[in-house]
Subunit: 277 residues, 4 copies
């Protein structure tokens, strides 16, 4: 069985030697190993995939003994993650994820879809996933978010994915899913933060547009970026045509980013990501 | 001999028919033809490359007779443009252009290089181009720009190219070269306007960086974009390494944009470009 | 109502003038116009989108009167195309098309899916599309193709799309759908023609892989290319991981190519495509 | 002072532990570390950048003691490589390298340029590099190569770079520079092997063209690929225009590949490269 060891801590000499020593002492076989030191603040990251029989408590105790006190150590068997998807009206990201999920291509179990509109209910039900329609009409943001949270809580998701969910979430909401709430933004951030990025892109006359998948934090479109991708455009494209072309980029960037996150290839550090791929 | 006809005007029915009728009446042979209508404000653009003997005044008169009064009509034989290059310390854009120029690959004649530092003088002289070192030290911006303008004026350039010229130019200066002053900005605009875009990109943790060639107007980094290009980066790259990687993009984007401009493939319209390539 | 005029013929002076003259004579308003002359053999292509009331027979007669005898003239209202999809076991291209179709994003009506395996039947039925399972086991190629043709014939499709249909089709079969049979090949053609291109790519150690959508002709993987796209890879990826990564490229390239074909933006000329986009 | 340790050998458990143990035992500080195991044949690769005072003979002896007998161990201080450039008539790759060299941007010392034509002599001399014109006219391939080899031998280059050298080299010649002879091929290999790849690309109607930098071995265009890059094209471009557009790709791919090789980031293994970047 394959295991994953994820470590990050202040850098110091001998870390790789000490960590691999613990693994070697248990005859564990390293399948894949990556290390990185962020030189800016001398922080060490290591992700190790290994095979072999292991008693987790023992291994963790031995690693703690050789690592700095401040080290974050995570030992996992990279289980399928329980997730809930949120969307508004556009289908492309949601259907991309539902299809991949239906064919076992995501390291995740989609427990439910939550939407503030009804339009994606039919799509969701085609894939036998519960669909929760929670309109925001006539409700304060607080009241609406409380309803959404109530539904989410009943599913206990490890991650919540905003697959083109077009409402801004409050800091309070975001705080419930720190580093576990992922959004796809339809621009190449930090260009075109906020609403209607394609209209902004058209107005500015850019020659490339893109999409950004990121963890959501309390500041709009400012969270740690996981992945970005772009496509060329030209003057012949209206804002609407840019939006159409951009959808292909959005869904692929989101799917790829979720693969990285669910396969535990992503560390979040100081509003940035360190990714082992 | 090849001629170029560049027309833009408010759209109305029959424009292509009328314009090609004038050309056909003179037995002129169309080599390449492009039209575009900006639907946002119904503005018509046409670029026609044609061959044949032609009396310019006659042709223009006939075109004026069939086109709306507001039409801009330009007839040219796409001559080599006279240009001056401005740079500061980084060589990559300047050397890219000097090399292309030396091998006849630019539709331009580089009359001189102007710099606020001495470091690129040796490179420039290797290519037998006059180098003007005009330090900004101890001078007001106005005084420095006046000196630069004095040199430029003596060369009468049709275009001034900022090949990594790292000083902000005043609106007064820019006004002398409306739609004739081209800059390469080392970011994917409108992301990271202003100083140190690579440091900003590093800080933000983006996964793609880029470069933007644009006409300069009175607002910093806000002029009409000609071309943009990007490359992927990751967490392992420092701001300095991003800058290194970005240089290849910058110089290619600048060179490609100048080719478009000097070959008269670019219309500027309402702070955007319409490009026939 | 919008109309499309598609013309190709040997080039000669005045073609644009004459064609736009016919349109102008009927007060038809050109929305979008593209021309191209292939200089290699002096062949002229023109695609015009126009609006206005028109009697097709009259318009065609007038165009024929001014165009060379060899001209191909096609006047269409760009209707939704009737298509049948064929697939084998992999779902990614098929689901991409079924989802787009379900949301009205293809200029086509998917009449049926035909497969030589049963595995994609469940997916197809989720989208309420007839699924025809026609195994090739225990049959000669001729016998199998005859069965497939019998089903296709009953649907009278204008186009047949091979959405990862992994069997080679005979020349006889292909002849039934000349320039109407579209395939997605999982490599950057002409690299890695034939079977197992990802295994070939792994073996060769390439640093980029891609996908190619093309019309099928009687020579394997040699038909006119519509669109291609690529992604970078590196030495860490096995042939299987390349295949996974390649799927995203394949499905997007296929969907984009079908958009071009179904919107009648593609001319086929001498085993190549001329595309107006 | 920074050192580089490059190891490759059959994989076995504990390699990273043992290697980092030797380094840790000498108080050497790892700056950057990369490992990779090629699962196909279970071969282990490791590249370690470290700082600290070290007696090379001692370190190598200790590493040999803990590593398999078949291990290749290389300890280097990543010195500037002595190289000779070869070219024919096209300047773009040569000038790219000469400019980078002039500004200290290559980890190499260009000792000389060898060409079978005179045309690049002027460019080379602008950068104060010896230029050897060795025509092939009226000589057998053997005689010409013998002359070239005689010149190369006098410079003792560690690497020979074919910067658009357009003659096929014999196996005998290649054998002198095994894994030290680098070529830029003007296509996306393995598409369009051999002569005139842009003409082939035009003929085939591809929608993307590219360039490939590779080590040269005895089979034409079959050596280990270091880097590849591509650009989109369309039906409007002639073979000549493709060649022009391709030049920008060629020179950047070559320069980037040389950076990887000269910084010792490239392992060659079974006709493929393993690259740590």
């Amino acid at each position: 069985m394959a295991h994953l060891l994820l470590i990050n801590c202040p850098d110091e000499p001998g870390l790789v030697y000490k960590i691999t020593g613990v693994l070697f002492g248990h005859q564990l076989n390293i399948i894949r190993n990556g290390e990185f030191v962020e030189r800016h603040d001398n922080h060490f990251f290591m992700r190790t995939e290994f095979a072999g029989a292991v008693e987790p408590a023992t291994l963790l105790a031995e690693l703690e003994a050789v690592l700095p006190a401040a080290a974050h150590i995570r030992l996992t068997n990279n289980h399928r993650k329980d997730i809930v998807l949120m969307a508004t009206k556009e289908h492309h990201c949601l259907s991309e994820l539902l299809v991949r999920h239906a064919f076992g291509e995501m390291n995740a179990r989609v427990l439910a879809v939550v939407s503030n509109y009804e339009v994606l209910g039919d799509l969701t039900r085609r894939f036998d996933i519960p669909f929760h329609y929670i309109t925001h009409e006539g409700k304060s943001r607080e009241a609406h978010e409380a309803e959404v949270l109530a539904v989410l809580t009943q599913y206990q998701p490890e991650f919540v994915v905003l697959a083109k969910y077009m409402r801004i979430l409050s800091s309070d909401f975001v705080a419930h899913y720190s580093n576990r709430l992922i959004n796809i933004h339809h621009s190449f951030l930090p260009a075109f933060v906020g609403a209607s990025p394609y209209a902004q892109a058209y107005e500015r006359g850019v020659k490339i547009i893109g999409a950004t998948a990121h963890f959501v934090n309390e500041q709009l479109d400012q969270g740690p970026i996981i992945s970005q991708s772009v496509i060329p455009i030209d003057h012949t494209q209206s804002a609407r045509e840019m939006a159409q072309a951009g959808r292909d980029v959005e869904k692929i960037v989101l799917a790829r980013s979720l693969k990285l996150v669910f396969d535990e290839q992503v560390f979040v550090h100081r509003n940035k990501t360190v990714i082992f791929d």
